[in-house]
């Protein structure tokens, strides 16, 4: 399994939180938004993987492993729960900054677990940067 494409996708969005020369870092709300966007990308990549024929019959060049799928779905559900909880906090205009940051860290951790599991043969290889 190659995870490098998923890593590139993660770099494109979550790493956008990092500040560069002359740039300001994303706010916690923007970062939570980016985490949810990354979740969509990972779910789409995982769907592409899941639509492959299941491994088993000899001669299949590209296939999806049932054991991988069995781990993907719970990880996806956990990531969704964490990200959606963070989004709910982010959408509250009165949410305290420390609560936002905690929610972001929780969502980020859950998305990274999913990211590590997605074989991601279908993600574009070119890492992107937020300008």
């Amino acid at each position: 399994m190659k995870h490098f494409l998923a890593m590139a996708c993660a770099s494109a969005l979550l790493a956008a939180c990092a500040s560069g020369p002359g740039q300001s870092a994303l706010t916690p709300r923007q970062s939570i938004y980016a985490a949810q966007g990354l979740l969509v990308g990972l779910e789409s990549a995982a769907t592409a993987y899941a639509t492959l024929p299941r491994c088993g019959p000899p001669g299949l060049v590209v296939c999806s492993d049932r054991t991988v799928l069995a781990k993907l779905i719970p990880a996806k559900d956990a990531a969704r729960a964490s990200v959606n909880a963070a989004v709910a906090i982010a959408r509250d205009p009165a949410a305290a900054q420390d609560k936002l940051v905690l929610a972001l860290h929780s969502a980020d951790a859950a998305v990274r677990v999913l990211q590590a599991l997605v074989p991601a043969p279908a993600l574009p290889a070119q890492p992107a940067q937020v300008q």
């Binding site: 938004y33 980016a34 979740l39 592409a48 959408r91 937020v130 300008q131």
Partner: protein, 70 residues
């Protein structure tokens, strides 16, 4: 004959993967553009932007669940 079928199967699957990748790429570009705009404007996501992304996420999750059951 067997080798030809083997190659056709591989190419068909690779084509499907490429198409899936092409579907994800616009999402990444859109997210980049949206985040860049937010940074430039110094604002957080609007309720409409949250709603739109939540709908996309729900659809992506449902598609994954369906594909995994298939």
């Amino acid at each position: 004959m067997g080798a030809a079928l083997y190659a056709i199967q591989g190419l068909t699957i690779l084509e499907a993967l490429l198409q899936a990748g092409l579907q994800v790429a616009p999402l990444i570009q859109q997210m980049k553009a949206t985040l860049t705009t937010m940074k430039e404007e110094g604002r957080d996501p609007t309720q409409a932007e949250w709603d739109a992304l939540a709908a996309m996420e729900k659809a992506a999750s449902d598609a994954l669940d369906a594909a995994a059951k298939g």
